[in-house]
């Protein structure tokens, strides 16, 4: 087991003028499950591959435990890439399917059997060890493949979108399995996905990248409650956080005709407008003329709750997309399922004071 450290790690691909991963700094704890997440092209895979030894590091260093592995070949790093299209061999028993790679490495028979049995116990495959893979269900086969990586007992597991070619049902099932398995094994794991839901449900911590730059590295809770900038605010959470540009006034900021208290120091120097963020579940919805006036376009019933999607009646006010997607979006609020307004209604909305996020309009940085 080991810690992992990205220490100003930088990768510039030949022919590119700008780094694909730029001075990445992450300290991963021993036994931690770290998820690298971000939109396509943000540098997740490149970061993982630098750690695996598959991509040259052009600047900075990479550490596993107290070893500088920056220039080591993949084999010498003691990391395992999990699920790279593991084949199952039809004539071999489940035990041999899990253990054969150790045989190649010269591990002795007794030790192989021991490790295979341990892995089988964790994977709930003990009773199938002597069967052939044909006799297993799809999910069990998937676990045998995991077993192949586990028996190697590497210092770090690396996974790059391991679920991408599974169907939706097996994906959710396997996601849970991987997360709980990782916790039982306690092996440091770095996992790449573009799916923020996957990241939020699996990671101890999440590192969110954009254009090769680390935006924030924190627990899912922290990312959700205190996004460091507009990009993080827009990326994490589904439905996404509402982001609205509002004027700064005496004693706070003005959200429609509702004044939100914001400490003067927080918005000092941020200009005359800031971006206020509020998650759909933190919106106060009222019929009193207090807040931002919306016309409801769509109502989505979910049983206990409902989501309303509205457009500000003041056409000068636009709901901002996250950094990537600047198209105007509807304002989304979650409401009690027993008191749902109807399509076409006018309502007023404003953020609950304790769940307010304020961002600098020009830099995107969090202010509150």
């Amino acid at each position: 087991m080991a810690t992992v450290k990205f220490d100003n790690a930088t990768r510039i691909y030949p022919g590119n003028d700008k780094p694909s991963v730029d001075k990445l700094n992450i300290d991963i704890q021993d036994g931690e499950f770290l998820v690298l997440v971000g939109p396509s092209g943000c540098g997740k895979s490149t970061s993982l591959r630098m750690l695996a030894g598959l991509e040259e590091v052009n600047g900075g260093k990479i550490w596993i435990g107290d070893r500088d592995v920056t220039d080591l070949s993949p084999k010498d790093r003691d990391v395992a890439m999990v699920f790279q299209n593991y084949a199952l061999y039809p004539h071999m028993s489940v035990a041999d399917n899990m253990g054969f790679a150790l045989k190649i490495a010269g591990t002795d028979k007794g030790e192989i059997r021991k490790r295979v049995e341990e892995a089988a116990k964790i994977l709930d495959l003990t009773q199938y060890l002597d069967r052939k893979p044909k006799a297993l269900s799809g999910g069990q086969r998937q676990r045998v493949a995991m077993g192949r990586a586990i028996v190697r007992s590497p210092q770090v597991f690396l996974m790059d979108e391991p679920l991408s070619n599974l169907d939706a049902k097996l994906r959710v099932q396997t996601r849970t399995q991987i997360a709980s398995l990782q916790r039982r094994l306690g092996v440091t794991t770095v996992y790449v996905t573009h799916d923020q839901v996957e990241a939020m449900t699996m990671g101890d911590r999440i590192a969110l990248l954009k254009d090769g730059l680390l935006q924030q590295c924190a627990t899912p809770r922290e990312m959700y409650d205190r996004p460091a900038n507009l990009f993080v605010a827009g990326f994490i959470g589904s439905p996404a956080m509402n982001l609205v540009s509002v004027p700064v006034t005496e004693g706070g900021v003005k959200f429609g005709n509702h004044t939100l208290q914001v400490a003067r120091g927080d918005v000092a120097g941020a200009g005359s407008e800031v971006i206020v963020g509020v998650r759909p579940e933190d919106v106060e919805v009222t019929t009193n003329p207090d807040g931002l006036e919306l016309v409801i376009d769509v109502v989505e019933e979910l049983g206990a709750d409902a989501y309303i999607y509205g457009t500000p009646t003041d056409s000068k006010i636009a709901i901002e997309g996250s950094g990537d997607d600047a198209l105007a979006k509807p304002f989304i609020a979650r409401v009690d399922g027993r008191r749902v307004p109807t399509k076409g209604d006018k309502v007023y909305v404003y953020p609950k004071a304790e769940h307010l996020h304020v961002f600098n309009k020009s830099t995107g940085e969090r202010l509150s």
Binding site: E55, Q84, N85, M92, I104, L170
Partner: protein, 412 residues
């Protein structure tokens, strides 16, 4: 939803296939029962007009990616299967969406390794397959292709004058780069070794490994062969300024390995006493290109070597060393090669390709001569071979009927 067909040529016959049916349930009468390697996806061979295609059911984005990758590999002249089409937007009769299909042309006369092992093999086949795979891997790496899933199952083999030539069949995990880092090459090699050992252990467990060979030892050979070839093709060497002939020697050594040197870097040290040479661009197919240029015959590397040797013998026997090479080659084609090919009866042509028959007949002639202690003409050797050897061979144009396996990973 409408079917979306991506294909470089519009082939209306594609529309007649039962796209609303899951591939696993396609009717027997349109399928061709050819052997396959181990795979996680459902793969079937289908007759389409006069050709056979392989159909693989796979997620639409992965199908599109693999199709594009195979096209890139063909453009780079890498030996791989030929992509034919992607069919997406499939729907069952009841409206449930079905995965897309990637369609590739069945590689004629190709043999999956499992089929090779189920035949009665000459000794040393395992080793020859590994050697062919090593050449393929070096070529792919030189072209900047990182495979990610090197295995015997993902490779097809064609006979090549007693040896084998390897073709890539599964490009799903591959990536094309400007050039590969050492780490990427090492990773591919490591994957190759583990997969090959696993595949051979599987044959052993199934009682199909006819040779008494240790799978681990055989799997280590890929690493050795790869390294030797890589070093020979890319290594730099220092020579004394007075030994320029060694530059020629290096080039000739590479030709012997079947590679042409298109670009060679030469640097001298400050005093000019030593020269460092390093091949920069090498291109495989030295002999097959030469034969193609001289005769228009397009065959694999070792077959070409064999035919070129015969051409050389013909030139000597007719005392024509002084004549223009291309004119002699033309006469050799007219007087030796074409009559030879025409003499193979039509009903035996699906057994082996003509160039492979040529190689076998030359071998056969040697055995005949050894036994009789005198020479035979190629015409006599061919007659004997056609009467006694070729009819006993299985058809290899599209090999039929060996065990194949799928291990689908799906929810249940």
């Amino acid at each position: 939803m409408a079917l979306e067909i991506t294909s470089s040529r519009a082939d209306p016959a594609l529309l007649d296939l039962p796209w609303r049916t899951p591939l696993e349930e396609w009717p027997e009468d349109i399928l061709a029962a050819l052997p396959r390697g181990i795979s996680r996806h459902v793969v079937r061979f289908v007759r389409l007009d006069d050709k056979i295609v392989a159909v693989k059911e796979i997620k639409a984005d992965i199908a599109a990616r693999e199709y594009a990758m195979l096209r890139n590999l063909r453009r780079l002249e890498m030996p791989s299967v030929e992509p034919y089409a992607v069919v997406a937007g499939r729907e069952a009769a009841d409206g449930t969406p079905l995965d897309a299909c990637l369609i590739t042309r069945h590689l004629q006369f190709s043999l999956p390794y499992r089929a090779l092992y189920s035949q009665n093999l000459r000794k040393g086949t395992a080793v020859r397959l590994i050697d062919a795979l090593a050449v393929l891997l070096v070529r792919l790496h030189l072209a900047g292709f990182w495979w990610g899933d090197v295995s015997l199952s993902n490779t097809l083999f064609r006979r090549d004058a007693g040896a084998f030539a390897a073709y890539l069949v599964d490009a799903e995990t591959g990536e094309l780069r400007e050039r590969l880092s050492d780490g990427q090459r090492e990773h591919d090699l490591d994957i190759a070794r583990v997969n090959i050992a696993g595949e051979l252990m599987d044959l052993e467990a199934g009682g199909l490994l006819q040779e008494d060979r240790d799978p681990i030892v055989v799997s280590e050979r890929i690493v050795e062969r790869y390294r030797d070839l890589w070093d020979a093709l890319t290594g730099s060497e220092s020579i004394n300024a007075g030994e320029r002939w060694r530059v020629d020697e290096r080039i000739r050594a590479l030709n012997k390995l079947g590679f042409d040197v298109d670009e060679l870097a030469m640097t001298t040290d400050i005093g000019g006493t030593t020269i460092t040479i390093q091949p920069k661009v090498v291109d495989s197919g030295h002999h097959s290109r030469r034969l193609l240029r001289l005769t228009g015959i397009d065959v694999r590397e070792n077959q070409a070597r064999r035919l070129l040797n015969d051409l050389l013998a013909y030139t000597a026997a007719h005392d024509r060393q002084a004549d223009d090479e291309e004119i002699v080659a033309h006469d050799w084609v007219d007087q030796v090669y074409l009559p030879f090919v025409r003499a193979i009866p039509a009903d035996l042509r699906a057994k082996l390709e003509p160039a492979e028959v040529f190689h076998e007949v030359l071998e056969h002639r040697w055995y005949m001569a050894e036994r009789a202690q005198h020479d035979f003409s190629i015409t006599d050797a061919l007659a004997d071979y056609l009467a006694s050897v070729l009819p006993t061979k299985p058809d290899e144009r599209s090999v039929v009927g060996v065990d194949t396996v799928e291990m689908p990973v799906v929810a249940d």
